[in-house]
């Protein structure tokens, strides 16, 4: 019996001894766990009365679809252009200050887009924004400034805080690209410009595609920024249905459409992932020669500096300024520390423990999935690994909706406990853990595990004495990523938290929504700093901080 089950799991490929049934069961259960919210949403959408469908189809659906797709396309294009050009300038040219800029360009990942949006909104708001006010002061009459509200504002803000995905992936690709590839193109009669378009960019294409599709998924899921800037997309419409009108049928229908959209993008992304090859830096690897910018040097520097300013320095500077202001004013300070039921310390602590627990759980759950798919490749194990990445296609609002409905119905004792929030983080961010664990295992030669077996270790001893110690850095990277994204998560936390359970993200959102920017600033600043820690660990792994491999 055991043998047949095991053989079923290795049906399509060879070389490996039969799968441990325990591993297969653990991975299967994980897949089942992540499947529940997805299946449930479709179940509910299908069960919605036809009238709800009718209403939505007539009135809202097409407009929402248009709005959402427009934003996705605009931000993805913006992030691609910004990300690739920033990566090229810092990796391939003699840009002044490139070593510092290289790290600074990645750091906006630590700033949730809605916090960036809050800052830019406070600065640029048509009426009462700090910049229009200052200009009016100087010139003496109101001046028209670009408004951050609406489509263009949302596209601008979201581009600023999502381009680092593309930037990091293309930067890594630029670094690992063989110099001889471009040299060969040059020796075959191409100019540097032609070489870039005909050789370099096509070689980067899989990495760029992956980055672009991740950005697209992120935008589909984005709630805070679009709500703040009053641009209606699926996510914000679902949130309104859920939080305001309690029309769960309508929310389910909208969610199902959004999830189908996201699954299409995820499917494309997984296909691109499959085409990406592991680019190993061989011993004869040498870096490409830097392009001399010449008279363009300082204009290029200004360009990069303005991106860094808008996405990192200005938000940070404003948050620091506001925080100082808050600390200087005893009344605001009092409000900061007495807010909520238990005060400042409690929501810092809530943010940390929920994100940390989610990171640990997601990493632990990803382990059997990754072990099965990497060590016992078969159609089924690959399917499980792919399936566990469905969280990418489940926006926070959708996960919140399905958990609200499910837990109400099946596990009422969990309802209104912080554990539901943790559950949402795990479901949403499991893909990052699965990918990190898989890539860590892929880099571990199976012969190390086989060596341990022939030297007298059982499979379980091998796992604990050889496999786990060696893939630990990869697992930590995955956990750091889950921690980082959970910390920034807003919509699911807003919808699922028990009354009085505040996290940093929730507090910042609530205060900013009431217009108390100065009061919100210390929490926002701490949130950004807490997110910057795991991020800098990840960037160090990417070697973004060290120039040793490049100079």
């Amino acid at each position: 019996m055991q043998r047949t089950l095991a053989y079923w799991f290795v049906a399509s490929t060879g070389r490996k001894s039969p799968t441990s049934p325990w591993l297969a069961i653990a991975a299967g259960l994980t897949a089942l766990f992540v499947a529940i919210p997805l299946v449930y949403i479709f179940f509910r959408a299908a069960g919605a009365e036809p009238a709800a469908w009718q209403r939505l189809l007539q009135a809202r659906l097409w407009q929402l679809l248009g709005n959402t797709l427009l934003l996705v396309v605009a931000v993805t294009c913006g992030a691609l252009v910004t990300g690739v050009s920033m990566a090229w300038l810092t990796e391939r040219t003699d840009l002044p200050g490139r070593n510092v800029l290289r790290a600074m360009l990645a750091l906006p990942l630590a700033i949730p887009a809605y916090i960036g949006g809050i800052v830019h909104l406070a600065l640029l708001r048509p009426r009462g924004g700090l910049i229009p006010l200052a200009l009016e002061e100087i010139i003496g009459r109101p001046v028209a400034t670009p408004s951050p509200l609406g489509f263009w504002g949302a596209a601008f803000i979201l581009t600023l805080f999502t381009y680092p995905y593309v930037y990091l992936l293309s930067g890594a690709a630029f670094r690992s690209l063989h110099a001889s590839l471009e040299e060969a193109a040059r020796s075959l009669g191409r100019t540097p410009w032609q070489t870039f378009w005909q050789v370099t960019l096509p070689a980067l294409r899989p990495g760029l595609m992956a980055g672009a599709l991740l950005v697209a998924l992120d935008i589909l899921a984005e709630y805070g920024t679009v709500a703040l800037l009053r641009y209606e997309t699926f996510s914000s419409a679902i949130f309104v249905q859920l939080a305001g009108r309690y029309d769960r049928s309508a929310a389910s229908v909208l969610s199902a459409v959004l999830v189908i959209l996201a699954i299409l993008i995820l499917w494309a992304e997984l296909r691109v992932q499959g085409q990406r090859r592991f680019t190993q830096i061989e011993s004869n690897w040498r870096p490409a020669i830097r392009i001399t910018l010449g008279k363009w040097r300082w204009s290029a520097f200004l360009l990069v500096a303005s991106v860094v300013s808008a996405s990192l320095l200005v938000p940070l500077g404003v948050l620091i300024g506001w925080s100082l202001q808050a600390f200087a004013d005893p009344q605001t300070l009092e409000a900061v520390f007495r807010a909520g039921s238990r005060g400042f310390g409690s929501f810092v602590w809530n943010s940390l423990w929920t994100s940390l627990l989610a990171a640990l759980l997601a990493t632990a759950l990803s382990l059997p999935v990754a072990l099965l798919s990497v060590r016992y490749p078969s159609r089924i194990s690959r399917f499980i690994a792919r399936f566990c990445q469905v969280g990418y296609a489940l926006p926070g609002v959708v996960i919140a909706l399905s958990l609200v409905l499910l837990i109400n119905r099946t596990l009422p004792f969990l309802y209104a406990t912080p554990l539901v929030v943790v559950l949402a983080y795990v479901l949403r961010h499991m893909p990052q853990a699965v990918r990190s664990s898989e890539s860590a295992l892929n880099q571990l030669s199976p012969s190390l595990e086989e060596a341990a077996r022939t030297l007298g270790r059982t499979p379980l001893q091998t796992l604990f004495q050889v496999t786990l110690p060696l893939i630990l850095p990869g697992l930590l990277a995955g956990a750091a990523l889950v921690f980082l994204t959970s910390l920034k998560e807003l919509p699911a936390t807003l919808l699922l938290r028990p009354p009085g359970f505040d996290t940093l993200a929730v507090r910042v959102w609530v205060w900013a929504g009431e217009g108390f920017y100065v009061q919100a600033a210390p929490a926002a600043l701490i949130l950004v700093l807490a997110a910057a820690l795991p991020l800098s660990f990840l960037l160090r792994q990417e070697q973004i901080f060290s120039d040793s491999s490049i100079s």
Binding site: Y7, E450, R453, T454, L455, G456, T458
Partner: protein
């Protein structure tokens, strides 16, 4: 009692068109080194992994020191087989030092005993000074020796080596090969050694087993395999042979380059192929000859000439390094072996002079 007995072992991977191992039987005596040699993908590594317990056989039995470790009803997992395995990529644990790597298989013994054994092994492989280094700080040859020491330390009944020298540079390989063979012999280890390099197999093996498409083509001493190949494949694989067509009758063989008076065990005239290595063929300049020089390869100590016979058949011939003859010159090629040659009909040997090599008998008269 044999240290290892393999009987009718077969293994076929799911979705594979051919069996990786197809009814292989082998036996190893204590202290013997058997080299499994064959082209890549022939099943030699799978055989090794089956013996180590890293794969489960479909059929057949494996006995280690008389104990059944794999059969239709028994499967002993690798950790309980007491078999040492040296991996192609060495598979040293990067998180452990050299001495921790060597001690990895000694778990459960007294710490004093472990220390003594590790020191003995370090001394044996000549790495005493490097005990506390990590694998990444070792050279390729040093890693190779640590891998060997780690496999030998628990005193395994059998040592399996999977192309252990393939990751080393060519100039290092020769030196490491000598060291490893003398270490194995000093330990009196019983070894199966897998390689696709015929020269390495000839050097390392007390006996050779030629594997092709999952089957054993021939087993024997290196000299036996080299001189009296049992099949055309063996002749082709062991020492680049040309195959000269001829017609065999009981008294000898008629060929394009003359009459070969080597008796063939045939009852009626049949088409055969004679395996000829470059040292079996010679030629002289002759306007009325039967071949032309197509190419000359200067090998330093000697020249290799490629000749094309009038039929289009290609033969290779050695000449001294001073004998430089022009390409395009017409020559008369002839067989100058001075010993019996392997003759094949449909890939199977019909005459190979096995008697000659075994008994040291007088050679039959040759050209």
């Amino acid at each position: 009692m044999n240290t290892l007995d393999i009987q009718h072992l077969s293994k076929r991977f799911a979705n594979a068109r051919f069996a990786a191992v197809n009814d292989i039987s082998l036996a190893l005596k204590n202290g013997e080194i058997l080299a499994l040699v064959g082209p890549s993908g022939c099943g030699k590594t799978t055989t090794l992994r089956l013996v180590a317990g890293l794969e489960r056989p479909d059929a057949g039995e494996i006995h280690l020191n008389g104990r059944v470790v794999a059969s239709d009803t028994v499967f002993v997992p690798p950790e309980q087989r007491g078999v040492g395995l040296v991996f192609q990529d060495h598979a040293l644990f990067p998180h452990l030092t050299v001495s921790e790597n060597i001690a990895f298989g000694l778990r459960g013994r007294k710490s004093a005993e472990i220390r003594t054994t590790v020191n003995e092994m370090l001394e044996l492989v000549g790495l005493t000074g490097l005990a506390s280094r990590y694998p990444h700080a070792l050279s390729g040859g040093e890693r190779q020796r640590v891998a060997l020491a780690r496999a030998l330390a628990p005193r395994p009944v059998l040592v399996l080596m999977d192309e252990p020298f393939s990751s080393l540079d060519a100039d290092l390989r020769g030196a490491v090969r000598e060291q490893v063979r003398s270490i194995l012999k000093a330990m009196q280890a019983t070894v199966i050694f897998v390689t696709h390099d015929q020269e390495e197999a000839l050097y390392m093996g007390d006996r050779l087993a030629l594997i092709n498409q999952g089957r054993v083509e021939q087993i024997g001493a290196p000299e036996e395999i080299f001189h009296t190949p049992a099949t055309r494949f063996v002749a082709e694989f062991m020492g680049a042979s040309d195959f000269l067509r001829g017609e065999a009758i009981p008294e000898g063989i008629r060929t394009e380059v003359g009459w070969l008076p080597q008796p063939a065990f045939v009852s009626q005239p049949v088409q055969v192929e004679i395996a000829l290595r470059a040292d079996d063929v010679d030629f002289e300049l002759s306007e009325t000859g039967n071949a032309v020089i197509v190419e000359r390869f200067f090998r330093g100590a000697f020249n290799v000439y490629r000749l094309r016979l009038d039929s289009g058949q290609v033969l290779h011939a050695f000449k001294e390094h001073t004998q430089i003859l022009p390409v395009g010159a017409r020559v008369r090629a002839y067989i100058s072996a001075g010993h019996p040659l392997a003759v094949f009909q449909n890939g199977q040997v019909v005459s190979n002079g096995a008697d000659y090599y075994k008994k040291g008998a007088e050679p039959a008269p040759f050209l």
